[in-house]
Symmetry: C2
Subunit: 154 residues, 2 copies
DNA sequence: CAATCATGTAATATCGTTAGTTACATGAGA
DNA sequence: TCTCATGTAACTAACGATATTACATGATTG
């Protein structure tokens, strides 16, 4: 099944914005993400409504982060996107009359509810600041690898 | 996103089959599930290949359960269906060059992997026998409700 | 104030996946 | 041999995420 990549996409955008002091245009973000500017605006509208980012029109306009990265969790972002459904698997009928199907739904619902609770809790424990730190670490690692390659080549 | 309802559907079918001693035709199952016989056969083919059910052609043919209900977990069924993807949310790129996206993917993967592990473990702890028992209990409850209604009406 | 830049948003197209249908082949049993 | 039932391929329909186009709105600059 085709997956919803908005959460992944929005996080990518936000971290790129965090690297920039100036507002970033939808056009620039779209280029970095290899997509269309309208897609960016659509993804960001929820975040704006929830006060995570601000958008400015006209010259020098674009998108800015408003809150501290350490104060934004992945779960916050997920909710700002409108809590898209997490699972690709579901029940055939919502409130079936068939008692067999009721028993099936009850069992599946319990398992999926547990998994959803765990997932949301995990997302709640990761902040954008942590992601940014991880990115910085990867950047350092890459630099070190390059340095090694240079040494070995000489 | 549209959800994959095959797991729910197969479980429904299997429990209905458990109530019947004779083989059940795809046509009969399709009627109970309000769908098409071909859809049933398609869903069941994986289960047959994994030895959970048997299919017989010709007069008196149809589908039979092979194993004990207590020996089949919901996870077994899930795997027999070919482990369809569980989540409706995913990463934009599989192995991105962008370090920002790598950091995002790593964080999301960890959360989703944990949730998947929990979900599969939960599914592994529920057997078809348990579902069948739950169904029988619901049946008893319904009978009791009806009996009460009759008493109150008299 | 006019030109330009950027967002806001509706309408539409595209693409992939699941579900449903039709058609026909195969095999078992009466 | 006729009928019943599965096995399977091919096609259609429906749905949702993503992409694109078009145009309106508002801010900045000269």
């Amino acid at each position: 099944m085709r997956r919803d990549t908005r959460l992944s996409g929005v996080l990518h955008v936000l971290l790129h914005m965090a690297e920039q002091k100036e507002p970033v245009t939808s056009e620039a973000l779209a280029k970095a993400m290899d997509t269309n500017a309208v897609v960016i605006r659509r993804m960001m509208s929820g975040l704006r409504d929830h006060g995570f980012v601000r958008s400015e029109k006209g010259h020098g306009g674009g998108w800015c982060l408003v809150r501290d990265l350490a104060k934004i969790s992945l779960r916050d972002i997920y909710e700002a996107l409108g809590r898209p459904s997490l699972f690709a698997i579901g029940n055939r009928a919502q409130s079936p009359k068939c008692l067999v199907e009721q028993a099936v739904n009850a069992a599946l619902d319990q398992a999926f509810d547990d998994a959803e609770a765990l997932l949301l809790s995990r997302l709640g424990n990761v902040t954008l600041a942590m992601l940014s730190a991880d990115f910085q670490k990867r950047l350092g690692d890459r630099r070190n690898r390059h340095r090694l390659e240079i040494v070995h080549a000489s």
